[in-house]
């Protein structure tokens, strides 16, 4: 039997992998994928919380509706984000974070 705890562990792992990726990877596209992974970790745990909180025989659907909002917003974010990354690539011919460090003291 899969319990709420199992879902939360998987979601926590996804979130940690995503966060570690954002911190450690050096390619902006991969960083962006890791950010999406973090959002999806939240989605997974929202659905799990919703499924396991049963009121009057029905799961609490509020969280599942929230998941749709998150998916939509994430799609908008990706659309704008990839456009910015493409513009950066055209200007600098790179998507490597170490090459974009001209703003400093």
């Amino acid at each position: 039997m899969i319990t709420l705890g199992d879902y939360l562990i998987v979601s926590g792992l996804l979130f940690t992998i995503g966060f570690a990726g954002v911190m450690l990877r050096r390619n902006i596209i991969i960083i962006f994928m890791c950010l999406e992974l973090m959002l999806n970790a939240a989605n997974l745990s929202l659905v799990a919380f919703s499924r396991f909180r049963v009121d009057a025989g029905l799961p609490n659907y509020n969280a599942q509706v929230f998941v749709f909002f998150i998916i939509t917003v994430a799609a908008a974010e990706v659309a704008v984000g990839l456009a910015i990354i493409v513009a950066l690539f055209r200007a600098r011919q790179t998507t490597h974070v170490e090459d974009i460090a001209s703003l400093k003291f």
Binding site: L39, A42, V73, E77, V80, G81, I84, A101, S102, L103
Partner: protein
Amino acid sequence: MIAPPNLEIAVLILGMLLLMFEAFMDKIDKRVFAFAGILGLTTVLIGTFYLAPVPQIDHASGFWSFYTADPLAIFFKRFALLTTILVLVMMIDYAPTVRGSVAGVTVQAGLGEFFALPILTCAGLMYIASAIDFVMIFVSIELVTISFYVLVSFTRRNPLTLEAGVKYLVLSALSTAFLVYGITWIFGVTGETNLDRITAALANSNIDQTAMLFGAVLVLVALGFKIAAVPFQIWVPDVYQGAPTPVTAFLSVGSKAAGFVVLLRVLRPFLMLPKMDRLLVVVALLTLLYGNLAALPQGNLKRLLAYSSIAHAGYLLIGVACFDGPAVTFYLVAYLLMTLLSFAVLIVVAQQAGERITDFDGLAKRSPFLAFAMLIGMISLAGVPFTIGFFGKFFIFYSALAHHQTVLVVVGAITVACGFYYYLKVVRAMYWRPAVKNDAIPVSGLSRVVMSALIVAIIWFGVYPEPILRALQPPSGQVAMKSAADH
């Protein structure tokens, strides 16, 4: 009489109409759209004074469980509208720079969107002011953030702007992920997303405090990014320096104010958790020290204003740590007036000279009006008496003393002294250094009027702060803050 939700709808429609007309009217001067936007937003701003009272219906479900029109919300809607109007005025001055740095077939490519996007952002800011449900808070914060992604990297021929855009994109998206994951855990513990019902659920003793604390801290991390609190301030200097200057001004006032409104709203449930107040005090101390100390050696005025923005977040956080909503709101109004005045002068001067402090040398001889406007902005940011900045700090420190937060007051006073040094460095450059060139810097009529209005407002409210305080003393707002202070 206007129903409160119609305000946002009007702003959204205005933004979309401007975008549509912009797409079909290539021949005319695109600055017309900025004037149309200013006119439309001014109409909405006047409309906020003729609001129909909110129907006394069941707040437990439906639309009104997501959206509130309490005095705090109305006040911040006016705040957002005023900020956007002033930013649009600055954008008109900035238009020549945008023309040079956006690729396009026509001469005016990109200008229409540059004027329409702030209006859509303004709608997002207004929704944030009213949001009392985590779903609504999330969606409206994202509306603002995604508009800012585009605005920050708007002048995309300039590599520095693109770099700022990418940095803002990655760090902001990271803060969004924290926000969402935090909300998830709060939902998991309480089964609710509405702030009132979360508060009610927390009063119940058999909830999981640790899991709730985890969620609350994640949400606070995300808000820390928005208000530029240490240790989540890393993006601020780079993004502020690289972004187009009017966007920097918008980011430093609009985005920060939105963060603080959400912070004031979520603190009510969060303060029922243990150790939350101590966490806020520590963050406020770090923010004060970092912002002020890092600003000391800055030679670039735009970057200096970025560190000053972090420093002011520190003073605001003192107010938040003392749960003093009115003091925080007053400080935000002061911050709006003085920051936007400084940026308005910076935009005009930067197009002729540059944005380093040495480019301001002898400005008093070249353009006495601009120098005087910058002088007022700087001394108000520093907190000299008879400016609104002084009263802002006064109310904050007063409430810190009333709450026996001696450490905050002592550190605050020391950092104010640092502030005097770096703000007055700009004044010294303008008044006591010889000018390199002697030609006057041209200022457009509209900017001159707006700058004069801001100067008058800073001095007027610095002598007589009553009108703002009265606007801040609505019955229900007080009750909300009192009940937060009681916990």
